[in-house]
Amino acid sequence: MESQSQSPAQGHEPGVDPGGSHNARSYIVGLAFALILTGASFWAASTSFVYAPAVPVLLGVLAIAQMGIHVAFFLHISSAPDQANNFLALIFGIFVTCLVVFGSMAIMANLNHAMVSMDQLMQMQR
């Protein structure tokens, strides 16, 4: 049989917290938070109560908060010392994700800006 012992240096798998957060209560709490944040997202997208240009920012904040809730309460990843490996991998994943998404958007916006518009192109050909 394999040993099930856990020690800080060996780390432990994501999803199980020997400290005891891996129980039914964590899923209930996570569900409550997730429902509130999901409801807030759909409300913010369809209401005129919030200043319209601020809605995308609000949606972004709510989405990031809900992702954090899912990571903490469903995946049970935390910055605890015995989770150093899992947490560092997560940080690296977030880093690469941001690089890919915002890097692509910045490059394409630059290219769009530098591109001659179709109207101008037509006039040049005349």
């Binding site: 999803g15 199980v16 999901t38 997208a45 989405a63 692509s104």
Partner: protein, 205 residues
């Protein structure tokens, strides 16, 4: 789960004498790395969608195509299935077969409802002339949301295989480990869905 006396003893040893981590830890960490690489795949699709979301080529745009109520129900299904999957995994840890079957069947049904709703949305869009070949925006939409749907279908197939394995092999350590990785996969899909409904459906303009 963990033998307290043993873990205290191992914890007091120097790092170099502790030996390799147990298989469960190694398998979990490896699968976690795979999930992060999968999320980077989705990052590329999200970037494509963000760049192309305005390129509708005179065709239908997001606000004309998307039904927020439909998406809200899809979101609730996936969120509920994530929680039932968590309870199912707790039942696996307790080696409680009845509870495991109950929660995992609920997970399967909720996931299947999500997939059916997504399929009907896709079918409506294609029959209305808004298929992936209509514009760059729609190509990016079907690539992103379709890849997520494909992951959910793979997850459902995996769940069926796990239920068969529990039926034939019982809660062997190997089976419990795989079930645990399935749970991570399912939760990660729900996290990707948060990005999908925020950026694609609610962010449509």
């Amino acid at each position: 789960m963990s033998a307290v006396g043993e873990s205290v003893q191992i914890g007091s040893l120097p790092l170099s004498q502790q030996g390799p981590a147990p298989t469960r830890v190694v398998a979990g960490f490896g699968f976690w790395l795979f999930l992060l690489s999968d999320i980077i795949l989705f990052a590329a699709l999200f970037a494509t969608y963000a760049v192309l979301s305005d390129a509708s080529a005179g065709g239908p745009i997001g606000t004309e195509l998307f039904d927020k109520r439909h998406v809200f129900l899809e979101t609730l299904c996936l969120l509920a299935s994530s929680v039932t999957c968590g309870f199912g995994n707790l039942a696996v840890l307790r080696t409680d077969k009845r509870a495991m079957y109950r929660w995992m069947l609920a997970t399967f049904v909720l996931g299947a409802i999500f997939l059916a709703m997504e399929a009907s949305e896709f079918a409506d869009m294609v029959s209305a002339g808004a298929g992936p070949s209509r514009s760059a925006f729609l190509s990016a939409f079907f690539a992103l949301v379709g890849t997520h749907g494909l992951h959910v279908s793979l997850g459902l197939a995996w769940l069926l295989i796990m239920l068969l394995q529990v039926a034939t092999l019982g809660f062997a350590p190997m089976v419990a480990r795989r079930f645990f990785c399935f749970g991570l996969f399912w939760h990660a899909l729900d996290i990707v869905w948060i990005g999908v409904f925020t950026i694609v459906y609610l962010g449509a303009h």
